[in-house]
């Protein structure tokens, strides 16, 4: 499993949702969080973060730069392309998930999700990166 001190970047245009996701991450044992309100701001945070971001949790639907666009940018960048990326989707967006899989997303969680849901998804992501 990911280290508890892994720095997590939480991206959502709704501040309430960022806080709620942070809360669930805290319950899952994580301690270090950074927030961004859209893909563009997230991009800046990714490039400037020190220590670097170890895990991205991004909402799908956001103004300016969507989660999918951010994913594509991250995967195309040689410095960032190995950052684990998990998309947070709503039930209504679930059918689009193949697009994200093609673009290289590691996992996705459907809102609302519980601590256990998140832990299970992250364990799968971690396993994948260890195997690499």
């Amino acid at each position: 499993m990911f280290e508890p001190k892994t720095r997590i970047l939480i991206i959502d245009d709704m501040s309430t949702m960022r806080k709620v996701v942070t809360k669930v991450c805290k319950e899952a044992g994580f301690t270090d969080f950074t927030e961004a309100a859209d893909g563009n701001l997230a991009w800046d945070a990714l490039l400037s973060a020190n220590p670097p971001i170890g895990l991205i949790l991004s909402d799908w639907n956001m103004p300016n730069c969507s989660g999918l666009e951010l994913l594509k940018r991250v995967r195309a960048d040689h410095r960032l392309k190995k950052t684990p990326f998990v998309l947070i989707t709503a039930e209504a967006e679930k059918h689009q998930i193949m697009e994200a899989v093609k673009a290289g997303v590691d996992q996705y969680v459907v809102k609302p999700f519980s601590k256990d849901d998140l832990v299970a998804k992250l364990a799968a992501v971690h396993k994948k990166y260890v195997a690499k």
């Binding site: 709620v20 996701v21 669930v24 709503a90 609302p112």
Partner: protein, 457 residues
Amino acid sequence: MSQFRLLIFLPQNKELYPGWRRFSQDIVTQSYDAEKMMEAINPAPNAIIALAASNEMPLAEVAQSLRMTYPEFPIFLVTDQKSDFDKNQLIKNGFTQAYLLPWEKHELAAGMELEMIYAINPEMRNYRPIKAVDMYPNMELPFDTKLFMPKNGKFLTFGREGEALSAQKLEQLKSNNLNTLYVHSKDTEKFHTYVADALKRVGKSGPSETEKEKILREGIRALVSEMFVENSKENTFKQSQMLLEDLRKSVRLMIGEANPDILRKIEQVTGQQSDFYGHLSRVSMYATLFAIVLDIPKPEELGVAGLLHDIGFTALPGELSEKPYADLSPTLQEAYIQHAEKSLEIIKLKRMVIVDTVQKAIAQHHERIDRQGYPNKLSANKIIPEAQILAIADQFDYLTSNQIGVQSLSPLKALQHLLQENTKDPVQQGIDPKYIRDLIKKMEPQPTTITQLDTLS
């Protein structure tokens, strides 16, 4: 009684409507502020109410964030925002239940009363209410039944698995005005099988004709409303398929009793296993059930009409049933609109004896009250109610069964769709919406107890 505590989320600058005090004297209000939402409430509430935050936040996001903040609590949405109210979606996004005011104020009251009962008896959460009329005397119970005593708040065992309830014991319930029993959720399927068995028994033997019919009608009505419960998380229609199979048998029994050899003749014409027969058989069942629910005098006649309504296709080119009407060539369209008349010809040819109502229902099942129907462009006052019910059943089957490229709707959604189609433009009406409205009203789950409640917001 223990205290019933509510945590109510309010939109900014809104005050709590005093009507809520009817449910609880112990109400904590909170704004939709993220920080505030995270604050622990002591002692914990029994239920959380989200009053719609008008345009502050989409309802689905309210659902998601509250569910993620309070994973273990019942959370109810109460709103009068009709625009983004999609109950199934809202429940999928995290609400335990969602109520649209003012239409659903009785349901809300019933939901709150149920939560109050749960606050006293938490184990009742695992039980589901059933109507006491669904219990039949002297039939062995395949499950335990429980009873809630409103006077002292106790939740007692009423009948044990293996026991046969006497008529006297059931009568006692009625005389004490207790109309609801409870069955453990894991026994839901057993309950369905039990009712279907009981119906079949009633259909074959037992009490006097009038009483038999009364029991059959009440039982079927209860089962049908059961089918329309849109359960949390999953569409219960799949589960209802089994129930439908039992109902189909019951309906066949009714038809068979009234018309001994008609079933055999129909099967000769259609071939019993085909998709086509499936459609006829389902429409027959739906039409019978809808007729029962709408108190049409002889529901079994609609059962017969359903089995025969499209039989004319067997005498028409096969391509007709393979393509949508709009994609057919003009010649084939011409043939298509004859199918109701062809049905009547076949009935005559095969010497099936049917009453006048059945004949008219078949002839008119594509007539429309806006006079745009076929084959005769009849006006509304010429179309008999039975034909309209047959038309509802026909379209209902189309909407709820799996058609290639079309997503099937749940029963309630299908009726709501039909209502919308037939109310959006008063000059374009196929079916008189009063029938559909009445069906929806009678099929939606009935609250077990009702408290009068004024509009809340």
